[in-house]
């Protein structure tokens, strides 16, 4: 499969950056490029869906590489997977988009404050040791001089790699909040779907009804310069902070 192959071509709401990530995944599965190439994908830093795709792909590839084990089918798990697939295929893309947007905006503020709270909860313990650390940091000549280290030291920590790990852990740590909160619009949609099922089939209202549902997609298209710029900005910020080289993508 070539990198230019259309991915999920029936769904026009997939952004070009997501398509590129999907194309890279296909190349990894086809053994055209190594698994480590997935680390260079900067789009996944700011796109949760692509991040989850990459994480799932890694699990699959690692599991595939491991010696086969006898697996007992878990009927509950099977039910959940089947139900999820059925739900996904039954739900129109505009409804899925609405649910995602509703879940995202509603949980973003809470997740941000809670993550900060939990991280700071840990740093409360570190406050006690702050005085001794702070004593080591004193005023210096504004002209910067590299420190000399005569004594041999343990293997050097790659700061960039550690910061990268911390970023990924931070992005994954919000799941206890974001995943349940994302369920709320889904439950509401299920309830309203169930409650309106006894009603008569809808009057044939095309084309106006169809285009009404497509308005949010058009709005998203109009805001794409803003959202794409914001994604690129955060990718660049994370890159600068971590000082890790990630191959920049052309526009």
């Amino acid at each position: 499969m070539s990198p230019s192959t259309d991915f999920n071509s029936e769904d026009s709401s997939v952004s070009p950056d997501c398509r590129q990530t999907a194309a890279l995944l296909n190349r990894v599965f086809d053994n055209e490029v190594p698994l480590s190439m997935l680390e260079t994908d900067s789009h996944s830093v700011s796109c949760q869906i692509c991040r989850e795709r990459i994480a799932t792909a890694k699990l699959v590839l690692v599991a595939h590489a491991a010696p086969p084990e006898t697996v007992t089918a878990n009927s509950v798990l099977t039910d959940r997977i089947v139900a999820a697939v059925l739900e996904e295929t039954r739900t129109p893309s505009h409804v899925r988009s609405r649910r995602r947007i509703g879940a995202l905006t509603g949980t973003l503020a809470i997740a941000a404050a809670l993550l900060l709270a939990v991280w700071l909860q840990g740093s409360k313990v570190e406050d006690g040791s702050r005085t001794s650390d702070h004593a080591r940091i004193s005023g210096t000549d504004p002209i910067i001089k590299p420190e000399s280290h005569a004594e041999p030291s343990p293997p050097a920590v790659r700061l960039g790699d550690e910061i990268n790990k911390a970023e990924k852990a931070l992005l994954g740590s919000s799941k206890p909040i974001t995943e349940p909160a994302a369920i709320a619009p889904q439950v509401l949609a299920k309830l309203t779907d169930v409650l309106t099922r006894p009603s008569a089939p809808a009057v044939e209202l095309n084309p106006a009804r169809v285009v009404l549902f497509e308005l949010p997609e058009a709005a998203r298209s109009g805001l794409q310069p803003v959202t794409a710029t914001t994604q690129k900005a955060f990718a660049r910020l994370l890159r600068d902070v971590a000082s890790v080289q990630i191959a920049s993508k052309p526009n």
Binding site: S173, T192, L195, P198, A218, S248
Partner: protein, 575 residues
Amino acid sequence: MHANRFVPTVAVLLLVSGMAKASPRDELLRVTPSDTALVLLVQNAREHRNNLIGSPFMQWLPSTAVGKKLLESAEIKLLRDSTQMIFNELGTTPAALLEDVLGEAVTFSFSPAPADRPNEERSLILIRPRKPEVLLKLIDKINDLQIRSGELKGVEDKQYAGVTYRERQKPGNLSEYFCFRGNIFAFSGNESEIKSFIDRDKTAAKFEDQSPVLLDRLKKLGISDAAAVILINPRALDGELKSKLASAKIDEKRFLTRFSEIWTALDSAGLYLTLDKNIELGVSVRFTPGKLPADARKWFTGPRKVTTAERLIPQDALFGIAGQVRAVELIEVISSLVPHEPGKPGVQEWLTEAVGPIVGRDKLPLVLDALGPNWAVWAEPPAKDGVLPKFVGALEISGEGESRGKSEKAILQAVQFGFNRARVYYNSNHQDQIEIKEEKDPSSGATITVLVNEKGFPPGFAPAYAIVSGYLVVATSPESIRSFDSKVPNNSVQTDYSTLAKLNGVRCRAYLLANAPHLAKFLADLSAGSEIALREQLEALASVLELIESAEVIARGDDNGIRLGIRVKMAKPLK
């Protein structure tokens, strides 16, 4: 005598005002580029952190179900271990970093590279540390560690306009640049950005003489004191929007053209997060006076206050949304946005064809004119023995005298048609049958029409409708119609914002805790998913709701802009 005292007093006041020092944020904004597409500002993180640490919420969080899950999660442990290693190597702690380096103000400005010049992406990080010497030491340490690990080849001094800045040389001929000017630290992957920073620092007006452009924008947007802001410069994105419009598909073109008109009028926009006793996340937009199309002004500008619509949602509601718009205005807006192909029916034609025969084509304009402006939809706790929440919708019917009477009659007939149609369809496909019953509400005198099916409907579910106190009310239970109250209380509080949606966390959680197993079974029986999975999801949602007392979507505005925010009141104060 008075003149003798007056002049010195004024002089002292002038002297004092002139001596007002710039805050760390203001110092930073003075030298932050104002022409980039985006500027991220984080300010007073130290103060917010201290407030949060000592807050009742933080004391209580570890005792909650979701708090325990967060603190014990593998990701948090990994995060702590990674950050612990990083901070150990750097010889500092997160608290010290916030206290001395990052806690005052930080900005990150960014512009994407133009399509024809992919190497001209611009980005600049600026930090205004509380203790510059601490930051200097930290940078030294980072450079040293990275040189030892091979992530950095070396650090070299460079000169520009008599100012020293430094280059961090990385493998693969890549470099980063940084420098200190006064109390401001600058870092960028572009050498030109560092040079521009040096130029701005030398030439920008002093804060006492002229307020920074970016600060003025933030103040006009009403978000200058937010903990974090992403400030958007629309003019930097005009080119992208123009090319998007030029290449738009037919079904997007009309909407994008309209969007483009509003975008051209946009002066500035910002996404913000405020952390006070509560959290507020929102967007603020400001338009150039006189440029916004007249029909868009109602939606995007104008002061806001408590509306009749939001008061329709009862205090015991689980959640609800409300608004003020007349049906004819809404139809006009939608007509202007959806694509219109010649020879094919547009929105107005579709309405006439689909709805006209039901209310009478001759009465359709009267009906549409009467609908609104106040409307609300909400969910109430279940009826006794019920499992499902009661859903209610109320829509104002305006007008007076004979025309109002005609509108009400036509609307009732249309709703009656819909209910009858649903009843016939259901009855023809089920053994159990729906009956239509009418009852009189003794308090309002309204006639409530109810669909009843004790065998087929879940307990407490009986769709009903009526016209009550000038509102068409449709609900899943006649109980909600009986308790509907459109009157505005005498002691109602006036605010400078209107509430568009609200959620009562306490009531929603109570509902889920009491009904999750039954609700999961009900949904599973109707093939909405697996019962076990649904139950787990509902219980997980209830655990998150433990943290929230309430959440609202609110709107504030003035003559030139609007601010929309989600305000979350946590179960315990954050301060």
